[in-house]
């Protein structure tokens, strides 16, 4: 009995250590947003002044706007492409599936630095709209986001009982109605989870974004990354804190929506991890 107790308390200590290891940097960043000093590398005393400064720093706020616009547009595109691709993979498998899944996995495993360089050279060749505004960044983000959404939606559709559509047909639902009233609502949790993932992937992408960003267009992470050689001021920490808070709120909202849709906690967790 004693031995089990020792083992379980050791595991508890280990779990605690892992959590501390994972979350200390985040807690540190949040704390530093309330630092009075001009850099996040040295604590002087408590102040909220950088939270006010944050909104006046136009290069910071415009980078945040760029990031959010890119994230929203690329997520929307990824959801459309990925949902249909996932449905097709699960419902109409054939000779093409292996090749298609291969391409998707290739997108996910290719080092971003390779992706970025390749995409940049391709966009330079195309020129025009591919070298200005948000278009190139949106396209790059859409590529990997749609791969992620495809895999998550496919897993969900594959787990659905396809006889549900037969049941709908027996209740006079046309194939179109069966799809929109039965299949799509049941796949929705995966679409939501895929969208969340696509959004966050877009928000924190640095490497390929920095390759394809046209002159004068900077996303928030790239703005922060550009600062790291110099001084990172607490206003950046404040903005990051805002990001963390809104991400948590969004995850909470999705979980709430899934719960209202009749899913248990375990199912929700499974959805978020793509199972």
């Amino acid at each position: 009995m004693k031995r089990y107790f020792t083992v379980s308390s050791a595991l508890g200590v280990w779990t605690g250590a892992v959590i501390v290891f994972l979350f200390t940097p985040i807690a540190f960043l949040v704390a530093m947003s309330f630092n009075d000093y001009k850099s996040i590398f040295k604590w002087t005393h408590f102040s909220t002044r950088w939270w006010g400064h944050m909104m006046q720093n136009t290069s910071l706020t415009s980078s945040v706007r760029v990031s959010l616009e890119v994230a929203f547009v690329s997520t929307a595109l990824a959801l459309i492409l990925g949902t249909f691709a996932g449905l097709a993979l699960a419902k109409r498998p054939g000779k093409w599936t292996a090749g298609f899944v291969g391409i998707i996995l290739l997108i996910l495993v290719t080092p971003e630095i390779v992706d970025g360089a390749g995409q940049l050279s391709w966009f330079v060749l195309l020129g025009g709209p591919f070298r200005t505004g948000l278009t190139p960044i949106v396209l790059v983000h859409t590529v990997f986001s749609s791969a992620v959404v495809t895999l998550i939606v496919r897993a969900r559709v594959a787990g659905l009982d396809e006889r549900l559509e037969e049941a709908a047909a027996d209740l006079f639902a046309t194939p179109r109605r069966a799809f929109f009233e039965v299949t799509l609502p049941l796949v929705m949790p995966a679409v939501l989870a895929g969208g969340m993932l696509a959004f966050t992937l877009s928000l924190d992408n640095v490497v390929s974004t920095s390759f394809v960003s046209p002159a004068g267009v900077t996303t928030f992470p790239n703005y922060v990354f550009g600062l790291s050689g110099g001084i990172i001021r607490p206003e950046v920490a404040a903005m990051a804190t805002l990001f963390i808070a809104s991400t948590l709120a969004a995850v909470g909202l999705v979980a709430l929506a899934l719960r209202r849709g009749g899913q248990s906690g375990t199912e929700i967790a499974a959805t978020f991890t793509g199972n």
Partner: protein
């Protein structure tokens, strides 16, 4: 409203060819062992699996006729289906599940909900209208599935193994519930089951399907009196012997002879025939009986199943038999597996009838 169905299709090496009809207002059970093709017939009727040959007609409407290139899609057939595992829509409440078919037929939402509420009330589920399928018990889910199928007023209701998904404890209760609710529906009803109790409890008539063919149809009394296959005989618990009959004497493939009474109404014609013997009609003797009994065979006890008020004894000999005796008789004869006894059946206790 009547159904005439001839369903012919092949699935790999399995070849199905089944022909039957259902009269207006009739409840018919498709009874057969697993893999006999019952559910495939049901899918064909519902329009979920196209047939290769034959024809499906309800009233004067041809639903399926490959020869004439006619196929009515599942969503255009006036047929309701209750699936084995109900297939309720998990994202919809019980009420919305029932309203689904009405909405699909173009009924305005408010009216569909009113009718769905009435149906749930009829099924005793008014308090569960807002519940999701995951919150319903097996019996409640089945009633929702039944309400969902009936709300659209189909001409034909199909039920696939309606009680198979339930545990033994709730089966009897749900079976009598189902019987009651089925009785309120005036259209044709076909249920698929491998359980003779369900078939006989719920249906007016039984169509036995074995190996992709109809082996027998009839009412409970008819099927019990004259089983046409080993499967049916085992189901209804009678001994069935097949062979060739000449002047009322059946000779089995193994060479044993059974003297039978003539058929109930007329002598059984010579030729291929069946003889059924009820287990209660078999008398066991410790010594060879010398009496008027025409059928006497030396047999060996294989095993003994004891029930509360009767004992079923499996016997091997010139003909394999099951005899049913009382616990008192079992004790008096001190039977046990391996015992050698004599089995006797009066010719008048047997029923002979032609194989087809």
């Amino acid at each position: 409203m009547s159904l005439a169905a001839h369903v012919s299709l092949s699935l790999g090496t399995f070849d199905l060819d089944v022909q039957f009809s259902v009269e207006p207002g009739e409840v018919v059970a498709l009874l057969g062992p697993n893999g006999a093709g019952k559910s495939t017939v049901l899918r064909a009727l519902a329009g979920l699996s196209p047939i290769d040959g034959g024809r499906i007609i309800i009233d004067d409407t041809v639903l399926d006729d490959p020869a004439a290139d006619v196929f009515v899609n599942a969503d255009a057939r006036l047929i309701g289906v209750v699936f084995q595992d109900y297939l309720l829509f998990a994202h919809l409440s019980a009420l919305e599940n029932v309203a689904f078919g009405l909405r699909a037929r173009g009924m305005p939402r408010a009216r569909a909900r009113t009718i769905a509420t009435e149906w749930l009330g009829r099924m005793g589920l008014r308090d569960h209208a807002d519940h999701r399928p995951a919150q319903l018990s097996g019996g409640q889910a089945q009633r929702v599935a039944l309400a969902r199928a009936l709300a659209t007023q189909p001409r034909l209701l199909l039920l696939d193994e309606p009680l198979a998904a339930l545990d033994a404890g709730t089966r009897a209760e749900v079976r009598s519930d189902l019987r009651r609710h089925l009785a309120t529906f005036a259209g044709m009803r076909i249920l698929v089951t491998h359980d003779p109790i369900d078939a006989f409890a719920l249906a007016d008539r039984v169509i036995v399907i074995e190996g992709g063919r109809v082996s027998q149809t009839g009412s409970l009394a008819e099927v019990t009196a004259q089983p046409r296959s080993r499967y049916v005989a085992d189901l209804v618990g009678v001994n069935l012997l097949s062979g060739n009959i000449i002047h009322g004497v059946l000779t089995t493939a193994a060479g044993a002879q059974i003297v039978s009474s003539y058929g109930v109404d007329a002598p059984t014609p010579d030729g291929s025939a069946l003889v059924s013997i009820r287990p209660q009609s078999i008398v066991l003797h410790p010594e060879q009986p010398l009496g008027s009994t025409r059928n006497v065979w030396p047999v060996t006890v294989i095993d003994i199943d004891q029930y509360a008020d009767r004992v079923r004894v499996r016997l091997d000999g010139p003909v394999p038999l099951v005899a049913e005796i009382t616990p008192g008789a079992l004790a008096a004869l001190s039977l046990q597996p391996g015992s050698h006894v004599w089995a006797a059946v009066k010719a008048s206790e047997t029923t002979a009838y032609p194989s087809y």
